[in-house]
Symmetry: D2
Subunit: 287 residues, 4 copies
């Protein structure tokens, strides 16, 4: 099974062209979702069109690169598309970054061990040694790379070397270091962070404390792609839970941990299933 993601200026005929192309190559469309930033615009060419298709190539022995080259020529060039075909059998590689809190990490490891995250977990990287045993117990390599003050570049250089060809996706599962913009650039729209508030409320440090101080009646968590601006990248998924005056900051952390786990697991899965397309600072999520 394969998936096609498409993004281009909106215009008539895209669906027909793509579905014809696939039909003529023996592919059977098993799922299709589309979105236009404004389907009723009078200037459709100023709008952006997004599409996600799942298809099967049941009787085809068509090599992937031939299909791709053919798609480029017959379809993509014509509509000036950004596009990507990925094959479900080619598992994406994922690296998880973590510091000391284990809840987000363990949720991912556990779901992965149940085949709920379609990925090859290539490594866990941490600036602390604490979680090594928990990680290696799942058969995943654990790399302890401390990030000393003023030596972030050196640490990141080590990380980049390890990540070479080993990470299509990086998940920050409560990794408490800020990555340099150089690092972020190399993995643009491929680093997912879990933030422990319903962004854009409570950006920055200690969001649960901020939430307690403000007296909100809901706390939440946000999974987003990392960009240069802290806590401001495209949001993939969010959720909340009710709280009252009774919960102290520690209780909020505990309740919030449960939301963080779920929100991050959903966002990572959707990314791995090619359901997320970044649209400037927002996301289109086809679920």
């Amino acid at each position: 099974m394969a998936r096609l993601l498409v993004r281009c200026a909106d215009q008539p005929g895209i669906v027909a062209t793509i579905s014809n192309f696939l039909y003529n190559h023996g592919a059977n469309i098993t799922a299709l979702d589309q979105h236009s930033t404004d389907p009723h615009s009078r200037k459709p060419e100023a709008e952006t069109f997004f599409m996600r298709l799942e298809f099967q190539l049941p009787h085809s022995d068509l090599p992937a690169e031939v299909l791709s080259r053919s798609f480029q020529r017959a379809v993509a060039d014509r509509y000036d598309m950004q596009w990507k075909i990925s094959y479900v059998a080619d598992l994406k590689k994922t690296a998880i970054f973590v510091s000391r809190y284990d809840h987000a990490l363990l949720e991912l490891l556990w779901r992965w061990s149940r085949n709920e995250l379609p990925t090859q977990l290539s490594m866990v990287v941490s600036n602390h040694p604490d979680l090594e045993e928990a990680v290696t117990g799942f058969g995943i390599p654990f790399h302890h790379i401390p990030v000393e003050k003023g030596k972030k570049e050196e640490a990141e250089a080590q990380m980049l070397e390890l990540l070479e060809d080993q990470a299509d996706l990086i998940v920050l599962a409560r990794y408490m270091q800020i990555l340099t913009s150089d690092f972020v650039d190399r993995y643009k729209n491929r680093i997912i962070n879990i933030h422990h508030s319903f962004l854009p409320a409570f950006v920055g440090a200690r969001p649960y404390r901020q939430a307690k101080t403000r007296g909100v009646k809901l706390i939440g968590a946000t999974a987003h792609y990392v960009t240069e601006t802290l806590d401001a990248g495209p949001i993939i998924e969010q959720d909340v839970i009710r709280v009252t005056h009774r919960q102290k900051v520690g209780d909020l952390k505990e309740l919030g941990a449960s939301i963080e786990r779920q929100v991050l697991a959903r966002a990572v899965r959707w990314h791995l299933e090619d359901r997320v397309i970044v649209d400037e600072n927002k996301t289109v999520v086809f679920v």
Copy 2:
């Protein structure tokens, strides 16, 4: 703007055929959703395929019946489809049935008055006179048709006469009479009821009392198409709200009313927007 709903045995090429047809007739697809009961089945022909398209006919002066006839010949016959094209400009007509509780009715009237329900409200029918003033205040005709014991057929005959050509949809907004199967047959998959529980829990009478007795921690409401079997028709939408040991039956009714209003309003709107396809005793809801 128009909408196409399709249902047929699953098979390759449907999307290509339909999108080509529309493209060749100058139509621009603005939304597309599809579903197969099992896209990865080895016997696709045993599976059912559902599709909903929205399209615009910007420059076309094609008469509706010509488009329909052409679609039948060029597409529908080939795939043995059940299908329907509806035009957004042709408002569906809706009749609301109600007894004494006003909350579900008022929510619909109020949303309709805000243009949130794309329909022509043709009438409200009630077996009680109580809500006449509330209804006529919205400029909607109100018909009081009492249902006396043993004379249900006569009452329904009166209703059917009123409904003739005046109702594409009937909404039971807490209408406390059971319709005869004869009546139900005439409006198959076109009568929406709101039931005040999360079906299939608490079928039958007094669901809030049943909920209190059972000690559930959530109460809910269910909007479903009416079939011959009471409270067993295809579910369109459901929602719930948390309750505790503190709420008495009266409190449950009050909390539940709020859920009933929302669930019914969503279901009615989705029906009016041609988002619901019945699949045996279930629904496919394209939202």
Copy 3:
């Protein structure tokens, strides 16, 4: 039935003292809720204690003022309490302020007409004439007080005159004018506003547009007491609803209206039932 709200420095014996007092006066406690900002603090006297009691005076012909004077001497003085006894039979008076959007207003009027809001609705004040008919249809006086540029004080003077003895609570049901701090001071912790975002996200104008721009996956509403600082007063209640990339700003407004209605109705009811105690910039809500 009566309610007692208490607030004082935390210390041992408060529950015993109060319950003895009530028992000795023939009162039967039917509900009791308490909260301490930190019950396990080593310096309890630095913590604040809050309590809400409901009690019945079944056989008592004790005049309210006698009970109050007695409570002050026997209990309140001893613990240096802030406190209030209110009688369910003495309905609070509520004035609603509104501009042009009717959804929050109508929800309140409608719930009030169903006896779901225990209050005497004394008036609706609006800076626009549009909603007069809707309001007077419920038998409530409607006052149109335009707020012209640079003449806010004059307008507020008119309002204050109308409100004299007629408002224990003011509800801003989408009232689009900012009240002067002078006005706010006079009704401290007695003005409830509904803000159309999950504060503190999206303070200020056009929160739905802000939400769309930021690409959040949840939109919400917040009911809070009005203070001098815009959108920063103590939060009483919040709720959210899921949205996706598909909803435009107009859709967010429509979905959000439904949340606004529910959140405001809950907050107003809780205030009227003496369930809310303000604690600096937060609330204790006993539900």
Copy 4:
């Protein structure tokens, strides 16, 4: 810190009597919650009163048994109370029963290891050997007790021997065997089961399949005390998650697992914190 749970016929003076007793023994009430089946009943003596108190005995060297004997004489006898004082320092012992599904078990083990479940986990019992390694990795004894056809009594006899003095609570974390009523009687209101539906919908086997067949739009989970009648015991906690026509039975299982984990963890915690009082076939949950 200690907790007092009380249950008796409703009558005036209970709060005063208990709070005086505690005050006179130097105890400081840090939390108090109460409930009456009908506080406004004209026959209060026919209603049931429930109360939960948390209190501290800061300067007291009063032995537990002296306090208890004194409470019995001074308070409980007078009101004919059922009551229990438990000390937070005396951890309850919990045994978990499981079959092959690991999600509910692992959630409990993981929360316990984070100190989120205040209990001494004495053992895990399973009718299958599969989860031994996962359990012993947490340092918990694992007992494999197969339940062969027709030999359930023998198996339960083995279990009962192991449980002797080792279990104040038994949690069925997807244990697929039905316990005999003899076994259930011995641990009345001390066996918590997680059922994978929002009971009373879909009692019995394969609830996710039943849910798919019925076409519900919400699936849920229910934690309840086990009684002789299958799936009919007092409900402690429930929650739901939205689903659509797209999810197959396998997807429902996966989504549902997440709800099961949360609902069971909450119910177990509330039980361990003495927050749940059984009232016939319902529960009063003080949270």
